[in-house]
Structure formats: C-alpha cells, structure tokens
C-alpha cells in the first residue's frame, strides 16, 4: 500500500476584484474549518505538520491555500506588466473569497506573520462570519521592513530571502525545521517577498481597527515566539492590549515560524490547547 499523507490538493477558481484567480488549496481532516495562512514569500507547505497531526485532524477540517504569486497559485492577469504589491484590501478580499467559495461556516482563521496581521482585520470586519482567529507573530503596525536587496539583479533573491528568514527562527529550534523553512523561502518568485512586505510594512496599519474586534463573537488568540525580532513579543502584547478579551501567549524558544521551525513544541504546547478551546466553543454554538 502506498503511504500517502492525509493532505489532498486541488485548484479553486475564484474571482477577486473582477480578476479570475486560480488558487491552489490543500486540506486534511474533518470537522470545524480551520483556514491556515502562510507567511510572506512562502506557501502552504509551511502548514504540513499541522495538516498531518491526527489529534488536530480528528476535530478540524484544516485548509491551507497559496496566495496568488505564491507556491502553486499563479500570478493573475498580465502580471509581468505591473509590480507585485500586496495590499490589505486585496489580501482580505482574497481570503474571504476563498472561504466563501468553499462554503465555510464559522471558520477559524490562523495566520502567521503577514497572515497573523491580516487575521486582525478579518476579526474586525468579518468577525460575525468567523469562528475565531489565531494570530501567530501578529503585529498591527510594522514599518521599516523593506530591503532593496530582497529584489536586486545583483543579489540571489532566493538565497537572500531564505537567509533572512532563517535569522527569524529560534536557535533552539531543530535544524531540520529551520532549514525546511529556508527551502520554502528560497523558492519564492522574484520580488514576491518585497511585494508581501508592502502589505505588512507599508500599506497596513491595523491599529485603528483593533478596537472594533468583538472577542465574544470572534475569539482572538495571539501567539508570538520570543525570538521573533521582526514582530517582537512586545509588539504583539501591544496589539493584545488593544483588544478586549484577547488571549496572548508568549512562546518560549520559538521564533517567527512556529508551525514549521519547531512544529512539535508549537503544536503540543501551544496550538492544541487553543484549538481545544475553540472547538469546544464551536461545538456548543
């Protein structure tokens, strides 16, 4: 018998802003929908450990998709004629289009880094539709992240992005996990990291929206690794302080990519208790 993992992948057709998109979607498990958003310059592979954990898959239908320009989701339209710059509006619209196209009801959305930022906006604007958000390495305002060497004709973009990303991991994380994420980053398209950073560091200032989040309607969990120097634990604590009822967890010995750099520690110690609480709440609803 072939030894397949439980993850299956398909291509979804949705329209965002009048533009047709071909989105690569993976899923595994059954139960309440849990949508996972990858980080900048990465793709669904970052979630493979979450999507193969039987304890999670027993209660959750875990879904991850590649944003356009990432992984197996092609850039839309005549992409070669315009610079890739992700905006908060476009990011929000794409996630909600995928959730609605899949017919998800009360989905919990978990995002990391730029995904951890946009879930704050989702909670503020679509909290009534969602079952909760889990923000990993969430900041509402992170200026100054752009770096011209991330997209420079004289610098190897893949090695640059990947080497930058490994600096965001914790020294205690297993070497395999850190290198796995390195590999994913090394495969991002030219300029994609910089285009994602445009959302994260230039276009996005979520601070005014944080007060609109109703955690009774949409529970909010924020988890940040102590070694994250891009979104520091202090930055997430500032976000948490502005959201009444928000739960904030500082993760010792973890960096910016908990689900891939140290999946065992992240899942066992931090994610499972959060999912347990969210599933219990959704079961009772």
């Amino acid at each position: 018998m072939p030894e397949f993992e439980p993850i299956t992948g398909r291509y979804l057709r949705v329209e965002v802003g009048g533009e047709p998109l071909r989105i690569y979607v993976e899923e595994a498990g059954e139960g309440h929908p849990l949508v996972c958003l990858h980080t900048a310059a990465a793709d669904t592979r970052q979630w493979r450990h979450v999507m193969t954990d039987e304890r999670i898959l027993r209660r959750w239908r875990v879904i991850a998709f590649d944003m356009p320009h990432h992984g197996k989701s092609n850039p839309p339209g005549r992409w070669w004629e315009r610079e890739y710059r992700l905006t908060a509006d476009r990011y929000e619209a794409t996630i909600m289009a995928v959730c609605r196209a899949l017919g998800l009801v009360r989905a919990v959305v978990m995002g990391c880094s730029m995904g951890g930022a946009i879930v704050l906006r989702l909670a503020a604007r679509h909290g009534g539709e969602l079952g909760g958000i889990i923000g990993l390495e969430s900041a509402a305002y992170a200026p100054g992240r752009a770096n011209r060497f991330l997209h420079h004709p004289a610098v190897h973009g893949g090695e640059m992005a990947a080497t930058y990303s490994i600096g965001l991991t914790a020294p205690q994380s297993p070497e395999e996990g850190k290198r796995e994420n390195w590999w994913y980053y090394s495969q991002s398209g030219p300029g994609v990291y910089l285009g994602d950073i445009h959302f994260y560091s230039s276009d996005w200032d979520g601070r005014p929206e944080l007060g609109k989040i109703n955690t009774e309607e949409c529970p909010v969990f924020l988890l940040t690794g102590e070694y994250d120097y891009s979104c520091t634990p202090e930055m997430t604590a500032e976000v948490a302080a502005r959201i009444r009822g928000c739960r904030y967890i500082r993760m010792e010995g973890i960096g910016h990519f908990p689900m891939v750099e140290n999946p065992r520690l992240f899942i066992d110690r931090h994610l499972l208790p959060v999912l347990e609480e969210l599933a219990g709440r959704l079961d009772r609803a």
Partner: protein
C-alpha cells in the same frame, strides 16, 4: 583561547575552513572582510569560501570590502551557545541592536549572504 584573542581567531579560521557547508556554498565567496570586536580588529581574507589569511589590527593600507562592527559585549552575547533574543543572528542584530553595524560594500555582503551568515554562525563553534 579566549575571544577575541589571536589564538581564538586562528581556531575560528580553522573551523571555517573545515566546515562542509561552507565548502558547498562558498565557492563564489571571495572577499576581504573586517571583523571589528571593539578590543580587537581582524582583516579576514576569504578566497572561494576559505580563509586564506587573518591580519590582526589592519592599517589603512589594507582595504576591505565590508566590515561587521560591534562592541565586544554585543559579540559576546551573539557567541553564547544559546544567544538571547535579538542577539541570535546578524540580521536580528542589524535590525534591533543599534551598536551592531554592517559597513562598506553592503552589496558585496548580500551577494555572499548565505556563506557570510554561515561564516558568522561558525563563531559559536569555536571551543
């Protein structure tokens, strides 16, 4: 053998030159790099990923492509087996530790970033 004394530096060069990963990724890494530890400065002459020469306290007639500079106390935090947050990687220090500087031809540094970061990480392997 104590950081950043010359015998530590000599051992460091050996560690770099014995590293299998640098042998793999350092083929194009040919640069003169200044390591400034505040109480000691070394010009490290790298040829195709191998340290060919270490010049202690180089004078102005020994040019370099780029320099990594920080107070000794910053380097000592970076060198800990499990360094504290913000001191665990040169990119972390470039963003968050004001005293840590990358100076000179920063393009050359980034053209060799994979090998350069590996070379810096190997400072922790000097026993």
């Amino acid at each position: 053998m104590k950081f950043p004394e010359p015998d530590w530096m000599k051992r460091y060069a050996e560690v770099v030159n014995q590293d299998p990963e640098l042998r793999l990724v350092g083929w194009f890494f040919t640069c003169d790099v200044l390591l400034d530890f505040e109480t000691a400065r070394y010009l490290v002459r790298v040829l195709e990923g191998t340290v060919r020469e270490v010049v202690p306290d180089p004078a102005f007639d020994r040019p370099w492509a780029f320099a990594l500079r920080a107070p000794r106390a910053v380097w000592e935090r970076y060198l800990q087996r499990v360094p504290p947050p913000l001191y665990h990687h040169i990119f972390a220090m470039l963003m968050r530790v004001r005293e840590f500087k990358l100076e000179g031809d920063t393009l050359a540094a980034h053209q060799n970033i994979r090998a350069l970061v590996r070379m810096c990480d190997l400072m922790r392997a000097v026993s």
